[in-house]
Every structure is written in structure tokens, then in C-alpha cells.
Amino acid sequence: MARVKISEFRAKNLLSQVFGFEYTGVSVDLSKDISQLGLTEGNYVVKVDQAVKKRNQFGLVKLNRNASQVIDDLKDFAEQGYSHGLVEPFFEHDQKDEHFVAMQLTDAGVELQYSSQGGVNIEDNKETLQSCLFGFDSDISTNTTDLNPDVIRKLLDLFETNQMTYLEINPLVIQGDKITPLDAAVEIDSSAEFFAQGWSSADFRAPKKTLHPAEHAIEELASTTPASLVLKVLNPDGNLFLLLSGGGASVVILDEIASLADKDIIGNYGEYSGNPNEEDTYLYTKQVVRLMLDSKAEKKVLLIAGGVANFTDVAKTFKGVIRALDENIDELKNQGIKVVVRRGGPNQEQGLKLMKDFLDSKGVTSKVSGTELSIGATVKTAIEELNS
């Protein structure tokens, strides 16, 4: 995905270079042994360092902790399924020095939001928010906020050179010339990894506690191919599992399902596009088939569908799909899984014939169509099969 959140640890390291403070936070991988962090006695802040919204509300930020409490907190986070934590020295300050700063990339430039009354209650202080749009020329003479222009210049520069798309510091503690970000969230443009120097994909943080193993496997797979591969588990015990092609068509199909049936029947969302090779399609299908076989639902249908591809080779991709189905054919048959197929594009006749011959030869109940069946009618067929 284009916009990805990076760790607060990395974000603060970047900020420390700009504002010239020494950052002493410790990033903790919660999957490793955390009993030996080597912390000296003192006051600490412990946080979950992932793309989780409203951490405070969920008790994922703990203030004023001593060294042994820190370890307990981290263990607690790990037990809740989080993967990354952050430990920082507790920073004593006056609440009146807390400010709010946010920057966002828009198509007209970078939009700055600022409030001199930052902190946890920023939602209640919305009327104090000032905002100003800076064009891509980085001219800040148009600043209308009360934030120090020197701070703005430094932040804009940091924002641009690191290809950030969103930056929020709340609170930003300003004590005279001393600038200390206590809580920072940064989103970057992941396409820019080649151009940006300050971060790498190792700093990316997922919002979820832990990804489903199938989702994780597809993320790994997607990072090794120029094709697009997406998989999200919606209901592990769903009835209808989807093997879809195309970013647009896949959403259309989901819409159609939701308009004809309860959305909870949908086991997964996902799509493959950009002409993946046979191997990638095979590996992708394997994950969807596994998910489907693991679903406890009684009736199940696999919907293999997409629009009319421009350049994705239907025959080639279907060969990969067939391999994955073939590997699990006994289980698929034992569970009485039905298959509905609709696809068009390069070599569609060949691909559809391969699919139909395979399913028929294995005795799987199926409906295989080309573009003569519309997307709407295809979804209808799949749901009818489920209810029959």
C-alpha cells in the first residue's frame, strides 16, 4: 500500500536529527526475550509501537513506570498479541508547554495544523486549531499560524526529504528553544523507499495486533513480485471465499455480494492483478484454499472471478489456480465445495477450458463462464449455489 505508518521509534529518531536533541528511546521486538533490556532504575514511558489508533484509551501507553514495571508492561503487550513496543525515559514538563502539530500531504501542497493547546484533550480544543497550506515550493512566508517559522521550516524539510504523507506530534513540548516531541505518528509513501534515506521497510508498522498467517504469507509474497496481490480475512468461518482479479472488479463483486446477501457470508477479500506468473498465482490460491478449508461453515462456494483483463494472461494464471486446487482436491470434494468461475482477457478461451476440464475431471460441482455471463449474474449464481 502506498501510505504506511512507520514506527514511533524511527519517527523520533528522524525528529531528533532535525531538532538537535538526543533520543534515548529503546525499540523492543516483543517476539524476542524481553526480560533483559538492561534498563537502569528510573522513570519510564512504555508504549505499543504500532499503527494503533487511540492508544491512550486502550491502555497501550503507560506513564511513570519503573524498570521492573516496564518489563511487566511489555510482557502484557506481547500477551495481547502486539509485536513492537517502545520504552522512553519519562519526560517531566508543564502541561501548558504542550502543543499540537500535524502535517498532511494533499494535492495542493502540505497542510499544517497547529494548536498551542496540545495534549490528550486536543479533540476538545478543536476551536484552537489553526491551519495553513504550503505549496510544493516550500515557501513559508504564507504562514498564518502561530507556530515558530523555524520549526515549520525544519518540519517541512523533514516531511519532504523523507517522503512523508502524514505527521502528527501531540504533544510537542516547546520550552523556549528546546523542542521535545513526546508522541509522534508518521505515515510515509512506501513507493518512495528507493528515494528516501531516513527509513526503510523494516520500520513499517501494521495496525493490527497480528496479521492472520494467510495475510502475512500474501504480504510476503507480494513484496517479491511486481504483480499486485492482496488478501484480507473478513470472516474465517465464512461461506463464500473469493479468488478475484483486478482492484476495481474485486470491489464490484464484493458490492454485489453484499447487495444480495448478508456480508458475513464473505470469508475473505482479495485480488490478484498485474499479470502475476503461474507460480505467484499458485501460491496465492493456496492461501485462499487453505482459509476456505479451515472455515467451519457447512456450505461453501469458491468464487473465481474478474472482469475482462487487459494484459493478465487468463490461461497462465488459471494454470496456477488449478495446481493449488489439485493439491487439495480430496479435501475440497469431501467438504462438498462448489466452484463458480467467470473471467475474460488474454487467452480466456484456453484458460476457461483448462479450468472446466479440470473441475469436470475431478467431479467438482462447478459453473464456468466467460464474459457472456455478466459480473452481476455471476455473483447471483454463486449465491444461488450456496443456497441450493
Binding site: 511486481p226 492482496v230 476495481g248 454485489e256 475482462v308 487487459n310 494484459f311 452481476g376 447471483k380
Partner: protein
């Protein structure tokens, strides 16, 4: 954005960055099936190879390849109206900047790659606006005007897809979509209902597309040919508000049939991020429902499901009238799909059932009143030379290089082989295989040196210094026997016969410096023939710098020596046989044992 200029032009020109066979061949097939008399793609950029094989109809052709647009001849650059970028996301911005900067008549382009940064896309949006051109993408499958142009994979990559989607015939429905797959789905749907598209554009599902949907809707409203507009949008972003605003204020009204996908997201508490980067509502105004509503409020026909969308499109196409039967077209397309690349392509000659042709002309007619050297020059160049002067130079060079005494290493080897009892081809081959950087094979290297120095504006002093500092010989300078005071008569003859140009003058300046250091460091016959060949190509033949470079890269200049000296080697072989000389053995005193 205006496409009337494109529609009015008979032979549109395009370049493609990156050798993407699907995109390139399907564009050529589109051109061919649309009845054009030449392919729109004039060059492939960003490739190492100088020519790439494709098909025009069933016939195999080659398209020129260049590393950068900067190498493309100026007259070709002027012919280019459109460009397609099929390279990686990382290179997209530099390719677009190159296209915008170097194509004087460019109207538009497309970027196929995903993974273009948001800032780069926004920068390109700004650049395109300044230059008044359109760029679709990133992550766009392209743009097409039925029967006029196709850039990108849009409409399909196989000939049968092109005919099936009827995009070679001008239609009256515009298709605009944020999804490449759905673009093609809609094109095919319209074709299935018997219509065809007036134009179709895939915006791409990125957050900040370079060309926005509203720009294409505006184009459709102004396009005479377009009677109805089909728009596919998705949850996320505010494009539909811009479209609504445009419709509200537009004097032109045309039916806008639309579907905004992603309503399903509203039924999830935490909606998944769909396949496209932009497909996520950041506030309630960006949901599919909100956007459907705003479009409905300005009179658009908003479908509440994809099936309904299909129905609305069907009604519109029916109103617009059916089109002719497409059967003949499909036959033509299936012909195109059964073609195979031959193992070889060549320009030199052909033999079709005994009809032998050289450079496209029947053999007897071709050799006609040409001398052997004129035949050779034409065949070496791959075309007949324009100027008699180049032919005269080539002929004299051949004659001067024909032999240079039996002592030279190639001739010695031929004689030794002849005396060992081997046959003619073995004797000739031994001599030929001796030709290399130190013997006869320096003409091409010399030409490379002169070419590079003159093209880069290097001074003769710097040139000499460059070689001296590396302790390297300069190819084409120096001779074992000849000196300033006893010049090579071949050099004297060539200089007396032919006018010198930039390259030879440069070589002579270099000679002044080197021969001052050492009397034997004169411009030798290799160096002079290399330089004069460049002058002939530039001044008599009208070759561009790039064309000269390409020819020199083929080792054309060495061919002059190899061809000429073949005569000498054969002569020495035959002579040794006539004399019936016995097996040669080096006399003992001619080898010193160092042990």
C-alpha cells in the same frame, strides 16, 4: 485536454518507454486493424538493443530501440504525438520529464507502472498542466480513441481482444474508469451490446492520479463524437464532487451513467483497504453512498448495483443504434494470432522460389551497371549510398588496401598454411584470423576515437593527453616503416583525392602533436580511412551522429580492410600453390631458447 488534433491526423506517432511486448504489439495490431498504413510506434526507449522485432499485420518488422530519447533523430521526435511509459515506477518520472522536454509536438501520454510516489505524481500533474498535455496514470492501463490511437494495454493485448471490443471503429460512448480491469470490462460490455466507445481512459487507482476523472468527463462533454458517458468510480477521494460541479456548470449536457464501487465498505466497522490505494473513505463524504448521491443530485444516472449499471449502459447503447457485424474483422484477428517470429530477420537479400533479391531489388537489376565495390558498399551499408563520392572513396580505399607485401603477419600465416598443404579456405581463414587491433583491424577503433572526440568537442591536445596519461596507443596513429619524412604513399594519395571534413581535420591535428614527439607517430592509413569514412557519412551521406555511431558499432570500418585484404590473402595462397613450395619450418637460428 483536446483530442481533435489526434483524430485529424493520418499518421500518429508514438514512443514507448520500456520494451513491453503486450503493450507494443497490441498497439501495432490496433493500428493495423484500424486500417492505418504505418505503425504508430516509431521507437522504443530505455532499451539496450538497437532493434526489436514485432509484427505489422502478419509481416515481421523491427522497431528501433534507444537507451534514451536523446538519441532519437530530431525528425522522428517531431513526429511523436503520444508516449507510453511501461518502465518501473522509479523511472516513470524521469521518462515523463524526458518525453515532455524532448518531444516538441507531444499531446499526451500514459504511465503504466504502479509504485510511483505521490509527490512524483503531483509533480507530473503540475508539469502536464504547464505544457497543456495529458498524462494518464500512474497505474493506468492507458487511453484509446476508437480507430485513432491506443496507448497502453487498454482494450486488450491480443488481436482478438481488439476486434472483440470493437475499438477499431469510432463509437459514441466514452468510458472513464478508475480501474483498468473495469475499463476493459465496460469497453467489452458496450461492444457486446453492439456499440463501441468514442474514447476510453483508465485513470488508475492511485490517490493522486496525474490526470483526474473530471478532466476526462470534461473531454467527453466537449467531444462531438461522444453522445453518452460511462463513469466507474470507487470509494475514497473527492473526484465525484468535482465531476458534479462540472456537470452543474456545463453548457453541454450528455447522459452520464455511473457506478461508484465500494458501498460494501460501509457495512464494515473497520473496512478493509481494497486493492487500489485510493479506495478508502477518509471521512463520510468519501463513501460510495455519499458520492453516488452527489452525482444523482446533478442529474447523473447513478446505478445502485453493477447489474443495474449494465442495464443502464445497455439502454443507452440501444438508443445510439447498433453497429455492423464484426465477423470479417474477427477472421483477420485470428490470422494475426497465429504468427510466429522467424529465427532470423535480414535486410540484405531474399530468395523466394528462385526470385533472388538484393536489398529489395531483383538481383540482375541490382547489380546492373554497378562495379563490384559499389555492390559491396551498398550491401555493407544495408542500402545504396547517396553519393558517388562515397563510392569513389570506398573503391579507392579497397584498392589501396588490397595488399602490402608478403612480410605482413596475415600474409605470412596464409603462406605458411598453404605450404602445409591445406586448402584455399584454410589458407584464407588463417590470414583473416590474423586481422585484429595490431594488424589491419584498427580502422574501426580509430573511427570510434575520432567520433567520440569530435562529438564531445575535445581538443586535440586533451585527446593526446588522455591516451598519453594512460600509456595507451592511439589507434590509427603510428607506423613501423613510415615517418614524417617518408610518408605512406596511400595516405598521401587519399588526402590528395578527397576533401577532408571535421573528423579528418581533427585526426590531422592529432598527428601534428604526436609526430612532433616522435617522427613515426604519423596518421596511418587505418586512422585516415576511419576518419574519412566518418566525414563521408556525415557530409556526403547525411547520416546523423547517432546513425554514424550505430554503423561504427557494427564494425563497418573494419569491413573495408577485411574485404580488400581477402584479395591479397587469396593471391598469396594461390601463388604459394603455383610455386609448389614445401612445408615451412622456422630455421633454428630464428628462435632463441631462453632456458
Amino acid at each position: 485536454m483536446n483530442i481533435d488534433g489526434l483524430k485529424g491526423k493520418q499518421n500518429l506517432g508514438a514512443v514507448v518507454f520500456g520494451n513491453h511486448p503486450g503493450i507494443i504489439q497490441s498497439t501495432l495490431d490496433f493500428d493495423y486493424l484500424s486500417g492505418k498504413n504505418q505503425p504508430s510506434i516509431r521507437a522504443i526507449i530505455g532499451v539496450q538493443r538497437k532493434s526489436l522485432r514485432y509484427f505489422w499485420g502478419k509481416k515481421e518488422i523491427v522497431l528501433p530501440g534507444y537507451i534514451s530519447l536523446k538519441e532519437v533523430p530530431a525528425d522522428v521526435l517531431e513526429e511523436i504525438d503520444l508516449f507510453a511509459v511501461a518502465q518501473s515506477g522509479r523511472r516513470a518520472i524521469s521518462a515523463c520529464e524526458e518525453a515532455i522536454g524532448l518531444l516538441p509536438n507531444v499531446v499526451g501520454g500514459m504511465v503504466f507502472a504502479e509504485g510511483v510516489t505521490e509527490r512524483h505524481a503531483l509533480k507530473l500533474r503540475e508539469l502536464a498542466k504547464q505544457k497543456n498535455i495529458f498524462i494518464l496514470g500512474p497505474a493506468s492501463v492507458g487511453f484509446l480513441i476508437s480507430g485513432v490511437c491506443k496507448i497502453g494495454a487498454i482494450g486488450g493485448t491480443l488481436a482478438s481482444q481488439i476486434t472483440k471490443s470493437r475499438i477499431t471503429k469510432a463509437g459514441s460512448t466514452a468510458v472513464i474508469s478508475t480501474s483498468g480491469g473495469v475499463t476493459n470490462e465496460l469497453i467489452n460490455m458496450i461492444a457486446g451490446f453492439g456499440g463501441s466507445v468514442s474514447f476510453a481512459g483508465a485513470i488508475g487507482g492511485e490517490r493522486y492520479p496525474i490526470l483526474k476523472p473530471v478532466d476526462l468527463v470534461s473531454l467527453a462533454l466537449n467531444d462531438q463524437q461522444t453522445k453518452a458517458i460511462v463513469f466507474f468510480g470507487e470509494v475514497g477521494g473527492r473526484d465525484e464532487y468535482e465531476i458534479a460541479e462540472l456537470l452543474k456548470n456545463s453548457a453541454n449536457t450528455k447522459p452520464l451513467i455511473c457506478y461508484i464501487a465500494g458501498k460494501v465498505a460501509e457495512s464494515f466497522e473497520d473496512a478493509p483497504q481494497f486493492g487500489h490505494a485510493k479506495a478508502m473513505a477518509h471521512d463520510p463524504s468519501e463513501t460510495a453512498s455519499a458520492k453516488r448521491q452527489v452525482l444523482a443530485s446533478v442529474g447523473a444516472k447513478v446505478a445502485d448495483s453493477f447489474s443495474n449499471f449494465e442495464q443502464l449502459i445497455k439502454e443507452t447503447v440501444a438508443e445510439g443504434g447498433q453497429m455492423d457485424d464484426n465477423n470479417t474483422m474477427n477472421d483477420q484477428a485470428s490470422d494475426l494470432e497465429n504468427r510466429k517470429h522467424a529465427m532470423f530477420v535480414n535486410n540484405v537479400s531474399s530468395d523466394k522460389g528462385g526470385d533472388v533479391r538484393i536489398l529489395g531489388k531483383e538481383l540482375i537489376e541490382f547489380v546492373g551497371n554497378k562495379s563490384l565495390s559499389q555492390v559491396a558498399l551498398s550491401m555493407f551499408l544495408g542500402h545504396e549510398p547517396k553519393s558517388p563520392e562515397f563510392s569513389r572513396f570506398f573503391d579507392l580505399s579497397l584498392r589501396l588496401l588490397v595488399d602490402h607485401g608478403p612480410q605482413v603477419s596475415g600474409a605470412v600465416n596464409t603462406m605458411v598454411t598453404a605450404r602445409a598443404g591445406r586448402d584455399l579456405t584454410a589458407g584464407l581463414a588463417t590470414g583473416l584470423l590474423t586481422i585484429g587491433p595490431r594488424f589491419g583491424g584498427a580502422i574501426n577503433q580509430a573511427a570510434q576515437n575520432w567520433l567520440q572526440a569530435v562529438a564531445s568537442g575535445e581538443s586535440p591536445q586533451d585527446f593526446v593527453e588522455r591516451f598519453a596519461s594512460k600509456k595507451e596507443y592511439i589507434a590509427g596513429i603510428g607506423h613501423k616503416k613510415y615517418r614524417v619524412d617518408s610518408p605512406d604513399p596511400r595516405v598521401t594519395k587519399l588526402l590528395a583525392e578527397f576533401k577532408t571534413g571535421d573528423y579528418t581535420n581533427f585526426a590531422l591535428e592529432v598527428e601534428k602533436i604526436t609526430s612532433n614527439k616522435k617522427a613515426q607517430l604519423i596518421l596511418n592509413v587505418d586512422g585516415l580511412i576511419g576518419a574519412l569514412t566518418l566525414d563521408m557519412l556525415a557530409e556526403e551521406e547525411g547520416y546523423s551522429l547517432e546513425q554514424i555511431k550505430a554503423l561504427v558499432d557494427t564494425e563497418f570500418c573494419n569491413a573495408i580492410f577485411v574485404y580488400a585484404r581477402t584479395v591479397g590473402f587469396i593471391a598469396h595462397y594461390l601463388d604459394q600453390k603455383r610455386l609448389d613450395e614445401a612445408l615451412f619450418r622456422l630455421p633454428d637460428d630464428q628462435i632463441t631458447d631462453l632456458q
